[in-house]
């Protein structure tokens, strides 16, 4: 049998590895910053681009797409050629992928803090960046699939299946969720609105967790755990079944993010059922990962790589058990909108993604540099810092989530809310926010130790740019007769298409009826499009990332109706491009903020003073001040274009209204500003705060209109 020689390129692996470490540190430091901002709201007093609402999307995007993204590519570019016994298809495509991805991250850093955002969680980036993501993703996909095509082994190892599923699904999710109509180079409106936008967004959001944070890392798990433990995976049969079950079931679970919302019950029920079923394939993966270490537990005691893998896979098991639990309606009624969610996602991010990445880096660096790890002791210290940091982060937040939710729901014997003031429930859990900062600091200290350790390791050795290997050509090993799945494994493109079909099914079942069946969104006659001033104000609300702390979705509970007003209806948000339901209540819900007879109504002057200094109106408030909204002039040159795009999306403004819109805008602005001036507040008509007040005072009022 003739052996062919070929090489593995380590340069690209190293580039992605360095990027993982760099962006990981940045993403975590931004996280620590915003955690501190919740305790010291005046910390970045008056600096718009450092405010919580703008930095929180940067934190989530940096950790998900920069840290975990580069982490997965590190592992994929290392393991794929070695599993397939070939070099990568194209070095050039690899380089384009690397630099393209870093440019995308850089553009996120240069847009999100400046309020350039679509306003959809984890999909905040504006349309030109979305297009760049699509292109770079396709480059990655071509390189991956073509490498599989030119492989020298017959069977495609299960890790590669997870990579294929990642490529295919993320492409579909990203494109479907990001479709929007541009208003300008840096502003666009999503084509979906309200409850339908919410369904698409959480189908995306949930599956970003599934196919960006989970499947590629399961692939890494199936490669690096056997490598590090030097023994094959526990059950290969289990890996095949759990792969297909996982990718098929995951795609249906998105609606569990919208329980008790205005989403139709049938869609909520689908989300719950599939979420519960997901335990099976998720735990299949966890069990397979942990049991791979059977007989090697003595090594786990000494090897920091294995320790990190064990905690990482355990965290995966915990969060995939917690996920279905949280999607049960009764549990969700308590957990949703609270810090419980934040704790849950950080078990996944710090535990599963973080620990698996660190373990991989500690394993890779000595191998790429032909040396030993500089300090095993230091790596062990990192392990303990990361583990305790994660616990100090998550446990207080579980406590905070529970406490606050129960306080929101508690009634006195007379039937009144026991804590009618939202701020009382915030003050109660502030000590937990301090503990979170402690946990985050411990975790980041560990990362800094790791960086030092890895740099020292690299300095000790010499980098091998390429590694040589040899294997027989594929045709000389493929003489046996194939059948069944084996044929499928031999055809990567057919495999890719089937994976695509599997993930499209859930999406189609949820989307088609949601968009086609009219009864899903009952029309409310009194719901009208936003006035031009309100529309501009809404864009300021998006720009400042208000949705990061304020929901606009009153659930049909007595405690919420009592606190905020009538529960939210699907028909109320039909002109909301994008929807702004939110997922966390660090501050109160705003869905009925403008209802004059409602329990939370505030006059214009209150809002003005509150934006200027929240602490002046509510002394213990943890909301940052927004002086720039008070000072900035409202840019009304965009109004006609915005109205035209809205008309294109089906919002019923009268024909030709775009040209007249600014007249109406000025009239309304003058009325609000005059009211404020009458109350003794010095303000001009053309300031941003006027538009924002107009929007806030419109919220939830449509169904209270009397003809």
């Amino acid at each position: 049998m003739e052996l062919q020689k070929f090489t593995y390129d380590n340069k690209l692996t190293r580039l992605f590895m360095n990027a993982t470490i760099f962006w990981g540190l940045i993403g975590m430091l931004v996280g620590l910053t915003i955690a501190l901002e919740l305790i010291y709201p005046l910390m970045t007093n008056g600096v718009s681009w450092l405010s919580f609402g703008r930095l929180r999307p940067l934190h989530t995007n940096a950790v998900i797409f920069a840290f975990v993204g580069n982490g997965m590519f590190t592992g994929i570019y290392y393991s794929t050629p070695r599993l397939l016994k070939t070099s990568m298809f194209s070095e050039l495509l690899g380089k384009i992928h690397f630099w393209g991805w870093q440019l995308i991250i850089l553009s996120a850093v240069l847009t999100l803090p400046f309020g350039i955002t679509v306003g959809k969680e984890y999909a905040e980036l504006e349309w030109p960046i979305d297009i760049a993501i699509t292109l770079v993703w396709v480059v990655f996909g071509i390189n991956l699939i073509m490498t599989i095509v030119k492989r020298r082994v017959k069977h495609i190892y299960v890790a590669i299946w997870f990579y294929i599923a990642t490529f295919v699904t993320v492409a579909v999710l990203h494109i479907v969720n990001s479709i929007s109509i541009p208003v300008s180079l840096l502003k666009s409106y999503p084509i979906y609105a309200g409850i339908q936008d919410a369904l698409v967004q959480w189908w995306y959001g949930h599956n970003a967790v599934a196919f960006f944070l989970t499947t590629p890392y399961l692939g890494l798990m199936y490669y690096f755990i056997p490598k590090a433990a030097n023994r094959p995976v526990y059950s290969y049969k289990l890996s095949i079944i759990h792969f297909w079950a996982l990718i098929f079931l995951y795609i249906w679970a998105g609606p569990h993010h919208l329980l008790y919302s205005a989403l139709p019950d049938w869609a909520q029920a689908l989300g719950v059922v599939f979420s519960v079923m997901l335990i099976a394939p998720s735990w299949g993966g966890m069990i397979n990962g942990l049991l791979t270490l059977r007989g090697a537990w003595d090594k786990v005691r000494e090897d920091p790589v294995l320790k990190m893998f064990v905690v990482g896979v355990t965290a995966y098991g915990m969060s995939t058990f917690e996920g279905p639990l949280l999607s049960l309606k009764s549990v969700n009624a308590i957990s949703h909108f609270t810090d419980w969610t934040i704790a849950h996602v950080h078990i996944g991010a710090l535990g599963w993604n973080g620990m698996l990445t660190f373990g991989m880096l500690y394993w890779l660096m000595p191998r790429l540099y032909n040396t030993k790890l500089f300090s095993v002791k230091m790596a062990n210290a990192h392990f303990w810092l990361a583990t305790t940091g994660m616990l100090f982060f998550a446990v207080p937040l579980y406590f905070a989530g529970f406490t606050q939710s129960l306080m929101w729901k508690e009634f006195t014997e007379e039937g009144y809310l026991k804590y009618p003031n939202f701020i009382e429930t915030v003050v109660q859990i502030l000590p937990m926010y301090y503990l979170r900062v402690l946990g985050g600091t411990l975790y980041i200290t560990g990362v800094i130790l790791m960086i030092y350790n890895l740099i020292k390791t690299a300095q000790m050795g010499t980098f091998s740019k390429i590694e040589e290997d040899e294997a027989p050509a594929l045709h000389s090993v493929s003489h046996e007769k194939d059948k069944g799945h084996r044929i499928l494994e031999g055809k990567p493109i057919l495999f890719t298409i089937l994976a695509l079909v599997a993930i499209l099914i859930g999406g189609i079942v949820e989307f088609v009826p949601m968009f086609m069946v009219k009864s899903n969104v009952p029309i409310i006659a009194s719901v009208q499009p936003y006035t031009p001033l309100e529309l501009q104000g809404r864009d300021i609300y998006l720009r400042e990332g208000c949705y990061n702390c304020h929901s606009q979705m009153i659930r049909p509970f007595r405690s919420e109706v009592e606190r905020y007003g009538d529960y939210s209806k699907a028909g109320e948000s039909v002109y909301d491009h994008p929807f702004q339901f939110g997922s966390k209540r660090t501050g109160p819900d705003l869905a009925r903020e403008g209802v004059k007879t409602g329990p939370i109504y505030k006059p214009d002057s209150w809002h003005y003073n509150h934006f200027l200094s929240p602490q002046k109106m509510i002394s213990q408030s943890i909301m940052p001040p927004y002086p720039w909204i008070i000072n900035n002039d409202l840019d009304i040159s965009s109004t006609p274009k915005k109205i035209r795009v809205m008309q294109l999306l089906g919002v019923p403004y009268p024909d030709g209204y775009a040209e007249k819109a600014n007249e109406d805008l000025k009239k309304q602005a003058n009325k609000i500003a005059q009211g404020l001036r009458d109350g003794g507040i010095e303000v001009e008509d053309g300031k941003e705060v006027i538009a924002l007040i107009a929007y806030i005072q419109r919220l939830g009022t449509d169904i209270h209109k009397t003809e």
Binding site: R82, Q196, N230, K237, K372, E467, M516
Partner: protein, 70 residues
Amino acid sequence: MKIVTKTLEGIADIQFFPIIGLIIFFIMFVVLLYYVAQLSKNQIDEFSRLPLDDAQDIHFENDESTFSKK
């Protein structure tokens, strides 16, 4: 919203897509279970050893060499 609904309505017989999809997946899953059940032990061993037979690993055959406390 009109823009999405109209596009979807333009696809002929779209109402059957979900059920067709479900049938495809169900059949695929049954075939998959059959396939997994009939795999021989040799095949499974061969597949699951794929990450382990690197030339480079011979060099690092004994993992303790990386992390031993000498």
